[in-house]
């Protein structure tokens, strides 16, 4: 018996196999269809563009933590930049430490520019896009990452 010469199968077994096959195919399709339901079609979520106030409010060399927005806004002599304070490891909120940022959950450590200096974090803390709203307020878009070192000049 080779593949070119398969064993003969009688009509009854063929039909049984075919009906069993269609049963399982239907079952699988139904299961797959049902499993589509818990996979969200849209991802609801709050808008993550935050108005942080007029630029004059932040003096050069200052840093301001926005706890609810999970970001820290810096101003140095080159301009503004914002660093996310959500740990890139498993999403805890990092806190300011002596040498930068430290994560309370699993001990990731970052320097004050967000680069990883220890612990399990796989990536540096993201720098976030800073811009201005029509009324002149600073706006940080927490969904948009910008390359490290990007400054926003007022």
């Amino acid at each position: 018996m080779s593949r070119l010469d398969p064993p003969r199968i009688n009509r009854r077994s063929f039909l049984s196999l075919a009906s069993l096959g269609s049963f399982f195919a239907a079952l699988g399709t139904a299961a797959a269809g049902m499993l589509r339901l818990p996979n969200p079609a849209v991802l609801p979520g709050p808008v993550r563009r935050f108005k942080l106030g007029p630029p004059e409010q932040f003096s050069p060399g200052s840093e301001t933590a926005f706890a609810e927005q999970n970001l820290v806004l810096f101003r140095d002599d080159q301009g503004f930049y914002a660093i996310s304070s959500t740990c890139t490891h498993l999403g805890c909120t990092v806190a300011r430490s002596k040498d930068g940022f430290a994560c309370p959950c699993h001990g990731s450590r970052f320097d004050s520019k967000g680069s990883v200096i220890g612990g399990p974090a796989p990536r540096p803390l993201p720098w976030l896009e800073v811009s201005r709203a029509a009324n002149g307020d600073l706006v940080v878009n927490a969904d948009n990452e910008v390359p490290e070192g990007t400054r926003y000049r007022v």
């Binding site: 818990p38 996979n39 969200p40 979520g45 959950c105 699993h106 200096i117 612990g119 399990p120 990536r123």
Partner: protein, 513 residues
């Protein structure tokens, strides 16, 4: 005519308590002969999963310590108390925390019931783990019980999932940050796909996270999903698999036990009794369907006893002990409730419940390796045990084969030294990221204290395999290493990890902030 009907009616009325009782209980009286005792067992839906007679060995408390039954008992307790808690609990991010406070402070007996639910759950996790260790060290997973080992492993995973989804529901700080961390562990395959740059095309992590959270942030969608899992899907899965687990115990020939001696005198239950030679290969028709060793028909009554009452008394006492332990703990120790969930700031340190702290320590080396890869390797490794160690021997006896005890102690001290050494090294010198800040993430995923521990344990068990020339002993060494590693990591993360996951000798040294 009317006269007789009235009399009959009055007579029936008078007999009512008896007739109702007879209708409910098929035997209707306390069994007096062995025949009636067997009827009492197999005429009752809840008892008939037991065989009518049990081997005296399986009743010996030190064989099982009743651990599996204790896990079952605590599960029953969590079901009952869980349904009671559902009366007041509201799965909404605005109301969940308040409803738990209500249960604690206002609802009559609410605080006690919630404590019982929590303690029974903790006891269940503990006894399931110990039960697994018992089954392993008594070699009870061997043929024909391989499948039941797998079923038990499934039950362990479901138990852990039930505990995890359970402590998310109060929507306190523990809950919120546990969901955040848990869903990001589900997301952690991204660590790997990011590192090799294929996330755009293949993103299993993102898919798992979306499935768990139902949104891209931790909120109402996530809470209701975990609620459905906790109160319906997981308990249903557990009950189903538990049914299969029990059924297979029976069909696989009861608890594992060594072959009975044939003929002569033998020790049974501390006494020397005669053992009869089986007459012929006569078996009862139905019992012949049972795989494994022949049921003890014609083997003489001396090595088995009637399940009613012996086994049932034993089971009842285990139930009573479990209930008593749970009640005492619940009376003195309240289930914790932290502050209301605050998405802005986690607790410092943010620690999981004890059974996940070992994983939390591993996760603090690498999210993907510690949170997914190692747990999967451990579960797959445990699942393979009965299929790789197939030589019969030692069933139903603690450390039953030659030099098992010695290998156990060698592996115990080996794993102790390696785990403690690895932790001490990591605490003192840090790891790759501290030495080479720009190192590629793939290196950290592959080489970290967790993956090294797994590797060293695997090499150790291969060494035992070569040296002792026994698969069972290799399995013993690996399982012992796993137990010791799990325990040390859990202990270490519980006691010696403090704020920012730094090392401290004692929690009293934690800085005040």
């Amino acid at each position: 005519m009317a006269e007789t009907a009235t009399r009959e009616f009055l007579h029936n009325l008078h007999e009512l308590p008896h007739t109702v009782k007879d209708a409910c209980f098929r035997l209707g009286k306390t069994p007096e002969s062995e025949r009636e005792e067997s009827q009492a067992t197999f005429h009752n839906l809840f008892l008939h999963i037991h065989s009518v007679r049990v081997h005296v060995r399986t009743l010996k408390p030190t064989l099982t310590f009743g651990l599996g039954l204790m896990a079952t008992a605590s599960f029953v307790i969590t079901i009952i108390t869980g349904v009671l808690l559902m009366v007041y609990y509201k799965p909404s991010t605005d109301l969940a925390y308040q409803s738990i406070k209500d249960i604690h402070f206002t609802v009559s007996t609410g605080r006690f019931i919630r404590n019982i639910h929590r303690w029974a759950a903790q006891l269940m996790v503990l006894t399931v783990l110990l039960h697994m260790a018992r089954v392993f060290f008594t070699a009870s997973y061997k043929k024909p019980r391989e499948f039941n080992w797998l079923a038990g492993l499934g039950l362990l995973v479901i138990t852990l999932a039930l505990s995890f989804t359970g402590y998310l529901l109060p929507w306190d700080q523990l809950a919120y940050w546990a969901i955040t961390i848990g869903s990001n562990i589900a997301n952690s395959p991204r660590e790997l796909t990011d590192a090799i740059g294929i996330t755009k095309f293949f993103d299993p992590g993102g898919f798992q996270k979306r499935l768990l959270l139902g949104a891209n942030y931790v909120g109402q969608d996530a809470l209701i999903r975990f609620y459905v899992l906790h109160v319906f899907i997981l308990p249903l899965a557990l009950v189903t698999l538990l049914g299969v687990h029990f059924w297979r115990i029976r069909k696989d020939g009861g608890l594992a036990k060594p072959e009975d001696p044939m003929g002569g005198l033998a020790e049974w239950g501390g006494e020397r009794r005669a053992v009869f030679q089986p007459l012929a290969t006569k078996t009862y028709g139905l019992m012949a369907l049972v795989k494994g060793k022949r049921p003890p028909v014609n083997r003489g009554p001396e090595n088995t006893v009637m399940s009613w009452p012996h086994l049932f008394w034993a089971e009842l006492s285990v139930f009573m002990v479990t209930v008593a332990v749970t009640l005492i703990l619940s009376f003195y120790y309240d289930a914790p409730l932290k502050e209301l969930a605050n998405p802005a700031i986690p607790e410092n340190p943010a620690k999981a419940p004890w059974y996940f702290l070992g994983i939390q320590e591993l996760v603090s080396y690498s999210a993907f390796t510690g949170g997914l890869l190692i747990p999967v390797i451990v579960v797959v490794g445990l699942a393979l045990i009965p299929f790789l160690d197939r030589r019969p021997g030692g069933e139903g006896t603690w450390f039953g084969t030659r030099s098992e005890r010695a290998v156990f102690w060698q592996s115990f001290f080996f794993a102790l030294a390696v785990t403690v050494g690895m932790l001490a090294f990591t605490v003192n010198y840090g790891w790759l990221r501290n030495w080479f800040p720009n190192i590629h993430q793939l290196w950290i995923i592959a080489i970290n204290p967790g993956s090294l521990l797994v590797l060293i344990f695997a090499v150790w068990s291969l060494f035992i395999l070569k040296r002792k020339d026994s698969v069972r002993l290799a399995a013993v060494s690996l399982f012992t290493c796993f137990l010791v590693g799990f325990t040390i990591l859990t202990y270490f993360a519980t006691v010696h990890r403090g704020p920012n996951w730094h090392f401290y000798w004692w929690p009293s040294q934690w800085p005040v902030h």
